[in-house]
Amino acid sequence: MSKVRVLVGTHRGAFIMESDGKREQWDISGPHFAGWEIYHLKGSPADPNRLYASQTSGWFGQVIQRSSDGGKTWEPVDNKFVYDGVPGTHQWYDGKPHPWEFKRVWHLEPSLTDPDTVYAGVEDAALFRTTDGGKSWQELPGLRGHGSGSRWQPGAGGMGLHTILLDPTDPQRMYIAISAAGAFRTDDGGTTWKPITKGLHSAILPEPTAEVGHCVHRIAMHKSRPNVLFMQKHWDVMRTDDAGDQWREVSGNLPTDFGFVIDVHAHEPETIYVVPIKSDSEHFPIDGKLRVYRSKTGGNEWEPLTKGLPQGDCYVNVLRDAMAIDSLDSCGVYFGTTGGQVYASADSGDTWAPIAEHLPSVLSVEVQTLA
């Protein structure tokens, strides 16, 4: 019988939650790496027992952990992230040049085919890769080497590379997103990159349609249609049908189009999910009601999903890496909140129930569908 394993990163450790295909009873282990910030952990699609975790601390810096047994045991691997060549500068908050400085790994994206190959998105924004299971990391410098790098500027949360999407049909193509530099695509395995921001409009920029500077919060893709991407920008939910060459807004009837997460149903490529957040100055849901919104039409027409979610006095946020989708026949949707709740729906979002309610603030949620 199939089962699922949910990987949750929090401000004070990691938690692993397992259930059978019914997704009603959960076994929770953790906290792993207690007391550390776990920005992200994710399993290899090629070997589901191979997990990688980004463990960070303001005191002790970055650690990368690897498990070969589905998270039962872990071993630290290389944590040396050194920018290629002379790092140069990007813009600081005051508009002045600021040297590139490694701070932490925001996101780990294992290869679709090789458990020893993993991409790491880091702050200050850059893309690294290991091909030896984490024993060493090398930067893919073409991204920062894009001519715009010196103009990138951090958002309030830092200048993190938080989204890495691998095209399952073309190993040379991937997409990344950076707060607040925007989104980029490579078609040659990471050697060269181009901004994919045409159609984005950000009123917070002096030039609202600038090539770089958009605060992209998350991009999602369905594996069957890698040219179709959905984006939750700082404000605006966007869609492209041509691999990012042109975007259009699909916020439609959302009560607010500010938010962080966005994801796609496992079996319905036009069904997408967001969690609208009131505004960038009030990082909580409107009216204290925690509502997931679902569109079955690829955007524009949205319906609120509320059954099982708190509909009063709820003032949590759902951060950019904190939603995931399983691939069981009845598609499961998961998300975690800054209030320490992890919610699951085993019926594509129609109904929800908490897996855990009192964890540290949730930074990331991933799910593995296991045979």
Partner: protein, 98 residues
């Protein structure tokens, strides 16, 4: 034998139960202690001092003999009591928060 006391998070990371005892060749300095420590526990590389610059991380402090030695040169000789093992060299996570 040099005695080193690490903060709890680093003891957990390196799977160390209590004090670390190290043989340090040559003069006993911050650098020679940390070199020996990282050689025995490679997973501590980058957690106490920066991988590239080898500078102490901002929120890590070095104490010994009731003194804060954090701002001393990494190549300055440490007190005789540390070199003899009478007193431990303390790696401390700085107080932060409210």
């Amino acid at each position: 034998m040099i005695r080193v006391v690490l903060p709890a998070h680093l003891r957990t990371l390196a799977q160390i139960g209590g004090e670390v005892q190290l043989e340090v060749m040559g003069q006993v300095t911050q650098r020679s202690i940390l070199d020996a420590l990282e050689a025995r526990y490679p997973m501590l590389q980058g957690t106490i001092r920066d991988h590239v610059t080898q500078e102490r991380r901002a929120f890590v402090r070095f104490f010994a003999c009731q003194e804060d030695l954090s701002h001393e040169s990494p190549d300055a000789p440490l007190p005789d009591a540390v070199a003899s093992g009478a007193e431990p060299f303390l790696v401390v996570g700085a107080i932060a928060g409210g």
